[in-house]
């Protein structure tokens, strides 16, 4: 039992990532309101970012900035003392892509609202079907 709890808690980031992914995915497909769909999309994307960020963590390490400051490095750098920088770099790009998609999605929603005067999916479908 203790092992189980330990395993459960030891991977709690994984749990949260999976839960958020599920929430976001569900909202993207099932929500009727287009804005809610977009919020779901953002949650889905941040969940993936959480996954990448949590894989960069190392035990007993610090942020990925060298604390020697300027100049040449006198002694060897202890790799294990810094969190992995590469996933962070990838996720910076992913955040930017996320906000770009968000902007375009919101612009399209405003345009949909101008055309159909609603942003509820079922009402739009009704208008289109006519």
């Amino acid at each position: 039992m203790a092992d189980f709890i330990q395993a459960l808690l030891g991977h709690y980031n994984n749990w949260a990532f999976i839960l958020l992914l599920m929430i976001g995915f569900y909202a993207m497909i099932a929500k009727n309101n287009l804005i809610k769909k977009v919020i779901g999309m953002s949650i889905f994307q941040t969940a993936i970012i959480l996954f990448y960020v949590s894989m960069a963590v190392k035990k007993n390490s610090t942020i990925p900035i060298l604390d020697h400051g300027h100049g040449a490095v006198e002694h060897a750098i202890d790799v294990a003392a810094y969190a992995s920088p590469l996933p962070h770099v990838l996720m910076l790009t992913a955040i930017v892509v996320g906000v770009a998609t968000l902007g375009v999605a919101l612009a399209i929603i405003q345009k949909i609202h101008r055309t159909y005067d609603t942003i509820e999916e079922d009402e739009i479908m009704e208008i289109i079907a006519q």
């Binding site: 991977h11 999976i18 497909i29 400051g69 920088p85 930017v96």
Partner: protein, 249 residues
């Protein structure tokens, strides 16, 4: 639909749980992510680029090509939003939903904004310039700079901001930002290196190759910041005014 969606997301969750089984232990310093490429960056980025912030070094140099397209993505989003939302004078007055009436400008908010905005802009420049040594860089600096304009637009109104920073200038600068980035890359081509090989800038800047990389990173970060500042403001202006550029929130 809801049932299907719930089913799909549960399947997704279960699949991911199964996959989680043989993932490396969380926080393990010996995991492949920490060992294979990341350790190279931690060990070599200072000696190769003289940038102590590994994230900045990897972002703007080792994977600078990604970042160039990241800037292009932002630029692309700005143009797309502008093209989608803008409408002509003839259609402007028609079909506009009633807007919340603005009850004058609040003196407290306006005065506070006046105080905060210069600080924000200064901080944004600091974040941009100090990205080599502390968290931050072109993107963060640009967003903060853009946010300072958005704050001004929220406190006063959009017209005030757009009279200071003309829309045409704004879009022009956003294009220039990407051009600065790609231009530095092309400059490296002309100097005989590969695309974005900043070490070739050494002959122009009269510094060592390692310092040239550091300066090159700063150069492209400035380009990123220009684009991001202008596009963030333009996204806000377009979305908050429904493409009419007259009044914000």
């Amino acid at each position: 639909m809801k049932v299907i969606a719930a089913l799909f997301s549960i399947v997704l969750g279960v699949v991911l749980l199964v996959a989680a089984n043989d993932l490396p232990i969380w926080g393990d310093p010996e995991s492949p992510v920490s060992v294979h490429l990341s350790s190279y960056f931690i060990e070599h980025s200072v000696e190769q680029t003289s940038v102590p912030n590994f994230v900045t070094a990897v972002l703007a140099d080792y994977r600078g090509y990604d970042t160039m397209f990241e800037t292009a993505v932002i630029f692309c989003a700005g143009i797309t939003v502008m093209t989608i939302l803008r409408r002509s004078h003839r259609l402007r007055k028609k079909n506009v939903p009633p807007r919340p009436v603005r009850e004058g400008q609040d003196i407290i908010i306006c005065s506070a904004a006046r105080l905060i905005v210069p600080m924000m802009q200064l901080f944004a420049l600091y974040v941009l310039a100090h990205g080599h040594h502390s968290p931050g860089g072109g993107f963060q600096g640009g967003v903060i700079f853009g946010a300072s304009f958005i704050l001004l637009a929220l406190a006063y109104d959009l017209k005030t901001v757009l009279s200071r920073l003309k829309e045409k200038t704004m879009m022009l600068v956003s294009g220039l930002g990407v051009l600065v980035y790609a231009g530095i890359g092309v400059l490296c081509l002309f100097l005989g290196g590969n695309f974005l090989d900043y070490s070739r800038l050494a002959s122009i800047l009269q510094v060592t190759e390692i310092e040239a990389r550091s300066h090159g990173i700063l150069g492209v970060e400035v380009g990123v910041a220009l684009t991001v500042t202008c596009i963030m403001l333009s996204l806000y202006a377009d979305l908050a005014s429904g493409g009419e550029m007259d009044e914000g929130l």
